[in-house]
């Protein structure tokens, strides 16, 4: 197959070919980077949380009578919640995982801020906490009910005995069984690990240490706590409506905060990521369609303006297959020009995004994938016009002369 006649035909309509090449190059740059970023966001959103996050809701409650019995209120509320039909378990908690608000501190494997160090996101709950979260213990047990302390004021230290996530255990005691080991806060207070959670996400989904979590057996401080309630699948809406009414009936001398589904809080925490993923996916789809349209339009235009030339070639012996091949090759050349420039653009854009916007550096596999996709799109878009060209009759050569 001779490239020369194709090239010279191409050079006759430089503007059109150039436009399509430019379009393809920018398309490649967009598609490669957009797909890469989208992929990472989708992975991030899809990480397992270690929680039964679709079947949990939470809310705050705060008593305002001066001398009310805080532990009695919490115990009565929880007893009522746990008895409700459709409820698997309920527990007190000062902050809610995946919600975006929580507290964290640094901890050490040895006293006096020595040994390995790791921050952890701390949650306070009672012996029902593990079950109410739907978390799985890989070792040890949940708290002993007698270990749970009801606080009168904000605590300086965690309570003795801690259940920790595997992520935290591994950070502090790499390659060891952390169960039964002791870790220390920055005042050298010892905390014995009584249970290890297989995997659990804490409050901040954007934190790279989101899987480092400590549960401590305490409730409060007076007058305020939150409750988390885990329901049977499909029961959450019904239970939410019933729970608020039942708690208000039991004791109206308090304020009950807004009931929130953990799944909604999770969606809110990932809202930025999902918006980014959705926007990029839509743009990627559209930009591919536009590129295909551009290629299709140019090929059609070329075929329409060259019917006489095609007819002449057919008349002097070119087969239909040669005509198809001519246009497909011409198109492939244009696409390839676009793709080559596009690779540079994509790399530059990827570099720029990673240095200016803190996005991770582009993975080269995506570039290869993008090139293959655009070649395919280009050839598919040129297919129909090329077939149309092949149908031009050799007699066209003699018309209109």
């Amino acid at each position: 197959m001779a490239i020369r006649p194709i090239l010279s035909a191409l050079l006759r309509n430089r503007a059109g070919a150039l436009l399509v090449a430019i379009q393809i190059s920018i398309t490649l740059a967009i598609v490669v980077n957009a797909v890469y970023v989208t992929q990472q966001r989708v992975e991030k959103i899809g990480r397992p949380t270690g929680l039964d996050d679709q079947n949990i809701f939470s809310f705050s409650t705060e008593g305002f009578d001066k001398d009310f019995d805080f532990p009695a209120m919490v115990r009565a509320d929880l007893a009522l919640l746990r008895e409700m039909p459709g409820v698997i378990d309920a527990a007190p908690m000062q902050q809610i995982p995946l919600s975006g608000s929580g507290s964290s501190s640094g901890y050490f494997s040895l006293p006096n801020e020595k040994g390995t160090e790791s921050p952890a996101n701390t949650f306070w709950t009672d012996e029902h906490g593990i079950n109410a979260l739907g978390a799985k213990l890989s070792g040890g047990t949940t708290f002993d009910a007698s270990a749970v302390k009801y606080l009168d004021e904000y605590p300086q230290f965690l309570q003795p005995g801690a259940i920790v996530s595997q992520g935290f255990a591994e950070a502090l005691f790499p390659k060891q069984n952390a169960l039964g080991k002791t870790f220390y806060d920055n005042h050298s207070t010892p905390h014995k690990i009584v249970g290890v959670i297989e995997h659990m996400h804490g409050s901040w989904v954007g934190w790279d240490k989101v899987d480092r979590v400590i549960l401590s057996p305490m409730v409060g401080p007076k007058p305020r706590t939150r409750y988390i309630v885990r329901t049977q699948p499909g029961e959450i809406d019904r239970v939410m409506a019933a729970a608020e009414v039942a708690l208000r009936q039991r004791d109206s001398n308090r304020v009950i905060g807004k009931l929130r589904k953990m799944s909604d809080q999770k969606m809110a925490s990932y809202a930025g990521d999902s918006l980014m993923a959705v926007t990029l996916t839509v743009v990627t789809g559209l930009v591919l369609v536009f590129s295909a349209l551009g290629i299709f339009g140019l090929a059609t235009f070329n075929v329409n303006t060259r019917t006489r030339q095609i007819g002449t070639r057919r008349a002097v012996g070119a087969r239909r297959r040669d005509i198809v091949r001519h246009f497909m090759t011409e198109n492939w050349l244009i696409t390839t020009l676009g793709v080559v420039v596009g690779c540079c653009l994509a790399l530059a854009a990827g570099f720029w995004l990673s240095t200016h916007f803190g996005l991770p550096r582009l993975d080269l596999y995506y570039l290869v994938g993008g090139v293959l996709i655009l070649w395919t799109v280009g050839q598919l878009a040129a297919w129909q016009p090329s077939l149309k060209a092949a149908k031009v009759s050799p007699s066209m050569a003699t018309r209109n002369v």
Partner: protein, 442 residues
Amino acid sequence: MFAYYLSLAVASFKRNPGLTALMVFAIALGISVCMITLSSYRAAARNPAGDRGAILFAPSIDSWDPEDPFEENEKELAPTQLTYRDARGLYASSIPDRKVIMYKAGGIYSRDDKGMDPEYLATRMTTKDFFAMFEVPFLYGGAWDAKADEGPEPVVVLSKESNQKAFGGANSVGRTVRWHDREFRVIGVLDDWEPVPKYFDVSNGSFSDMEGAYIPFAWGPLLELGSDGNTNCWKTETIDSFQAFLNSECIWFHAWFEIREPAKQQAFRQFLDDYVLEQKKHGRFPRPLNNYLYDVGGWLERNKVVEDDNKAMLVLAFAFLVVCLVNTVGLLLAKFLNAAPAAGVRRALGASRRDIFWQHLTESGVVALAGGITGGLLGLGGILALRGWYGRFVDDAQRALPVDPTNFMLAIAIAIIAGVLAGLYPAWRIGRAAPASYLKVQ
């Protein structure tokens, strides 16, 4: 002449309705994506303080850990909140024209006469200048005075919304609400007020809800109220009482200063350094001297109110628009060349190259306008759809993604500029073609 070109353009659209629709659609899609990302970017990039943004200043002084900088990735930056001691220390300066220290607290409000359901309200603990400094509009009454700050006097300013809940929207000045077991007298009620972004406290959410009540700052330490927002600590210290917490290196306070004259601004920067050097003598501020005084614009930038994702999406949206435009250039070129014989006839009848150029540029302008309007409407639909979806679980979706007529106009303006740019080459090309060759074939 322009009217004639318009009529020619309309005639041309009728000749190729499919191709015309495709061009309008291409521009519309590009514009709609741009408009959506632009709306979210502009909401975050706004400077709601307007001209006053240049004379309002937030300090950032480096009281942080000698071992670890406050920002892991930008080590040169200082913390964005203050310790209690430093908030008080800076507030003592007499240089600024106005000054505010504050933090976010909360609590349950009720009325002794049971006229309202007890309700938790986010509450701003602040000082008297807050209202004048941030140009807060009052519906009834007004701000408290210096005496109320010193007392502190039990006074409260309610937001319009919480006044609605507590008093049905009536003028409640002089009436009382109960808060943390005390009576607070309503001294003012605000009108609608919602700066976006919430620039005076971006540490607790750039698009967060406004507080429901404002109470003199000094009540905070007196009632031992911690922050209901962000609190950060780095130092190992024994915090066994609220007083110890106030004396700690934990940061949870904000300060703002209004300083009108440049000389005074300079003096205040010097004051910040002198203050920190003095504190160093007492063993505080273990890091090297590293103080900043940001105006509103600088503060919003320092706090990354415009997120990196915002910028990246905006860039991608405009790259997409470029693809749509290149597409349009190609389509226009094909369309104009297709109609070249008509242009040839007009040239032969005496139209100049320039006339042909303007005629075709007008045609691209009309396509762009149609694409802009369609794209603006599509963008509006997209914004409403996104808000509908995210509004179910994100409280601030409306503020982060506003419907703003300016954005609509901006989208149309971008479309027209882009469309005319796209039309330049095809219009020039068709104007350049020699009339004779087209006449011959006819």
